[in-house]
């Protein structure tokens, strides 16, 4: 979702229309996702006529942690890596936040949240640094680190416990003034906008895309490949921390056992049009991808189908999307 800007040199005299067409072509995947989402929402309304504002709010709450996890995954995948420790990082940050905020003042809660965000940055940076220093593949390192962070989470809390500051709960629960706009959605958009958009527009953001797209060309363009990779993983850690905090905020406790977020985030990223080869895509597509995955789950429930079939369909969607993606890539390379 690269923003279109600047004068478009055009000789045919219809710059606006052409720009729109070019934009639509470049964001074709995201646009079709949005269309798919609209169809799914309509379908939901058909099978469950009472689906309305409360449903949307419930959807937003259940989507929030996963959407942030998907954004986290998207950042490092764009940088040419993959992070299998996102679920564990979420568990760790969630239990740290919950255990420290329990029975404390509201003001102390603010300090805790800030500290947890810094913790996320640090553990993400550790992931990246280990990858850069040891030159062990991203998959192996983050797989191993997922043990470490999950173990650390268990050291903090053995069982789901802790608490959340009231302001934090209020931040994500309920509607934002108007019934149809849930707070969770507003929080998600604000958080992503505040962190991702400035990053993306900065040289650092460009460098993350550059190392994911073509490492050698990036090096020759003067990008510091190693440090950029660490920054990408630190950003992933930051978003994982936000996802962990949102878990605590929506449930009121911290759970030391990692949820299915790592795998779901990979699925959402692939579905959201981010190339696993790196360098392509954004964070908007994966967020739509999450909405689609969760809506499918909800619809299964509305149809009083076995919720486990939702897992099956999510798996099949993941497989189908990656197969489709590599088929396109393969055909392109044949030409």
């Amino acid at each position: 979702m690269s923003a279109v800007a600047g004068p478009i040199v055009d000789t045919r005299g219809r710059p606006v229309v052409d720009a729109l067409v070019a934009w639509a072509r470049r964001n074709g995947w995201t646009l079709s996702l949005i269309a798919l989402l609209a169809v799914l929402l309509a379908f939901t309304k058909v099978i469950n006529p009472s689906y309305g504002a409360p449903g949307i709010q419930g959807l937003a709450i259940s989507v929030l942690p996963l959407a942030l996890a998907a954004v986290a995954q998207a950042v490092c995948v764009i940088g040419g890596g993959i992070d299998l420790s996102i679920g564990s990082m979420m568990a760790l940050t969630s239990v740290v936040a919950a255990s420290q905020m329990k029975d404390q003042s509201e003001e102390f809660g603010v300090a805790v949240i800030l500290a947890v965000l810094i913790l996320g940055l640090i553990i993400g940076a550790v992931n990246g640094a280990v990858i850069v220093i040891t030159r062990v593949p991203d998959i192996v390192v983050t797989l191993a680190m997922s043990f470490v962070w999950a173990g650390a989470a268990l050291l903090v809390l053995k069982t789901p416990a802790g608490g959340s500051a009231q302001w934090l709960k209020d931040l994500v629960l309920g509607p934002a003034g108007f019934d149809w706009i849930p707070k969770a959605a507003v929080v998600l958009i604000v958080v992503v906008a505040v962190i991702w958009i400035p990053l993306r527009r900065s040289t650092v953001g460009l460098s993350i895309y550059a190392i994911g797209s073509d490492r050698l060309a990036a090096f020759r363009s003067g990008v510091a490949v190693g440090p950029t990779k660490v920054i990408a993983y630190a950003t992933t850690g930051l978003f994982a921390a936000l996802a962990g905090i949102s878990l605590t905020a929506s449930t009121g406790i911290g759970n030391p056992v990692p949820g299915p977020y790592t795998l779901m985030s990979v699925a959402a990223v692939v579905l959201g049009g981010v190339s696993l080869a790196g360098g392509r895509g954004g964070v908007f597509g994966p967020m739509i991808g999450v909405l689609i995955l969760v809506l499918i789950q909800n619809d299964m429930a509305f149809l009083s189908l076995d919720p486990n079939l939702a897992l099956v369909s999510q798996g099949l969607i993941l497989i189908g999307v990656v197969m489709f993606g590599s088929l396109i890539q393969w055909r392109r390379s044949r030409r």
Binding site: G6, D214, F219, V223
Partner: protein
């Protein structure tokens, strides 16, 4: 000695080794302020490695680099850039997934200046919001050049800058290069095209096999001198026992050739290649880098499919969908790059026996005794020295190359495609490979042999075809295939024609492809 202090850039005795391969032995280069300096050398002479070292993309093993009077060793392209040394590489250093504007921002290129140079180079109306991946290669290279010019470097290095360009753009580039030499600025210019060198360069440094063998002032007759230097002393190149064949001996005319290529074409690189390869002969292929020979061998070996044309085997049309089809039909391929052909972490035996287990019905129990016999015979035939270790990557380059050939010799050869099998290996191994190819042909095999070392042609081949710009431009008999003739043919120079008849050489726009190791 006063001259020395005036040099803008000086590299002395630079050496670089990749594993067992020496890319640069002792390269030196001295660039005066305000000159366009050509860097010349045959394929694999080390030009690109030297450029990469000067721009900090590769670290040398030894040697001294002085820029602007100060000794300096750049550790990254960014550092070299800050020191005023910028290169335009053969592969454009643009990030495919970023648009042009972002690519400029990434390298902190001033946009006004970039636009100025872009216009100067003949590209107008470039949409800056276009992704780099969708732009044609020629445009990317021009963007890369304009980006380099925009930051006004002291030393600008152009590695095969004109290779991918159509004629009109080539002219603009040469004009810009010509005009760029200023009081303090210099250009290092690498090109295969002698005509361009003569047109814009003041001096030329010639590399041969990783060593600087001479510096030539570009005055009249310099081209001949450069060619001489690139070839080297022919006398020392002749191996101890040549397998020279009596060139006059006529082959009995065969009814059907073993392999026939008819108007093969692919990917704009290969335009129209036809030839016949008979049993019992070694057919040489000569071409400058990137003239379509890579694609030709890929098609013949079943790795790629042609866009047009057809292949006949013993007179019958064949289509190879996979290398397995070619192998089953008796067409085997010795790849250019040993890294493409070998299982580096596995043993010699496993490497040689690899084709013996590749089909499903060969997946069962391995008869170790039979395998041992075949492998030993192949090892014996090629005199492979296995003492260096159990893994193939521990062998010397020459022995590695022998393993890639032994793999096919073990199974008996009908048709062998050899792509530069003697690149980067020692002279003794080279002559062993020449003899082996001759022996194979004498035993009735048909051998297609591409080499970047022209002196090998006379030692090995019965006939030679020359490819330029994706087309066969000449066929030369063994008797006439002396090095100057071949080299002229490879440059598509008529042996005695005046230079200006070949100006439109530049129209053929194949890219050169960098092959590592």
């Amino acid at each position: 000695m006063t001259l020395r202090t005036q040099l803008l850039l000086e590299a002395t005795d630079v050496a670089k080794t990749y594993g067992a391969v020496v890319a640069l032995r002792s390269a030196s280069l001295a660039v005066r302020p305000g000159e366009v300096h050509a860097l010349m050398g045959a394929n694999g002479a080390g030009k690109s490695t030297l450029v990469k070292i000067l721009t900090g993309a590769v670290r040398p093993d030894s040697g001294r680099i002085v820029v602007g009077g100060r000794e300096r060793m750049a550790h990254s392209p960014a550092e070299a850039r800050r020191g005023g040394v910028v290169s335009v590489y053969q592969e454009p250093a643009l990030i495919p997934d970023l648009d042009v504007r972002s690519n400029l921002r990434l390298t902190k290129t001033p946009e006004e200046s970039f636009r100025h140079w872009l216009a100067e180079l003949g590209i107008e109306n470039l949409d800056f919001s276009e992704l780099a991946r969708v732009l044609p290669l020629a445009t990317l290279r021009i963007i890369d050049l304009a980006r380099a010019l925009a930051i006004e470097p002291d030393v600008l290095m152009l590695d095969e800058m004109t290779a991918a360009l159509p004629a009109n753009l080539t002219e603009r580039v040469l004009a810009v290069v010509d005009g760029h030499r200023g009081a303090d600025r210099s250009v290092i210019f690498i090109s295969h095209r002698m005509i361009e060198i003569a047109a814009v360069c003041d001096r030329a440094t010639v590399l041969r096999e990783g060593t600087t063998v001479g510096v030539v002032d570009m005055t009249d007759g310099a081209e001949e001198r450069i060619v001489e230097l690139m070839i080297g002393d022919v006398a020392e190149a002749v191996p101890p026992r040549t397998a020279r064949r009596d060139a006059g001996a006529a082959r009995p005319p065969e009814a059907t050739p073993r392999l026939t290529a008819r108007s093969l074409s692919a990917k704009h690189k290969l335009r129209d290649v036809s030839f016949e390869l008979h049993r019992g002969e070694v057919l040489g292929v000569v071409a400058l880098e990137g003239q379509g020979q890579d694609e030709l061998f890929e098609i013949l070996s079943g790795s790629e499919r042609p866009d047009g044309g057809e292949m006949l085997l013993d007179g019958a049309p064949v289509t190879f969908h996979h290398p397995a089809d070619a192998i089953r039909a008796g067409v085997v391929y010795v790849a250019a790059d040993r890294a493409d052909a070998l299982l580096m972490q596995r043993s010699i035996t496993e490497n040689i026996a690899l084709p013996l287990t590749s089909r499903i019905r060969q997946w069962g129990w391995i008869n170790l005794v039979a395998e041992r016999t075949r492998v030993d015979a192949a090892v014996e035939a090629l005199q492979i020295d296995a003492r260096a270790g159990g893994e193939v990557r521990q062998l010397s380059g020459g022995n590695q190359q022998k393993v890639t050939i032994a793999r096919w010799v073990a199974g008996g050869v009908q048709t062998m495609l050899c792509f530069d099998p003697t690149r980067g290996i020692d002279i003794r191994t080279k002559s062993q490979i020449y003899l082996l190819l001759r022996d194979l042909a004498d035993a009735g095999a048909a051998v297609l042999f591409y080499t970047s070392e022209l002196k090998e042609i006379q030692l090995v081949c019965d006939r030679t075809i020359v490819i330029f710009g994706g087309r066969v431009v000449a066929e030369i008999d063994a008797a006439d295939s002396d090095e100057p003739t071949l080299l002229r043919a490879a440059y598509d120079l008529p042996s005695d024609a005046p230079a200006d008849t070949v100006t439109d050489v530049a129209v053929a726009g194949p890219t050169t492809r960098e092959r590592s190791t």
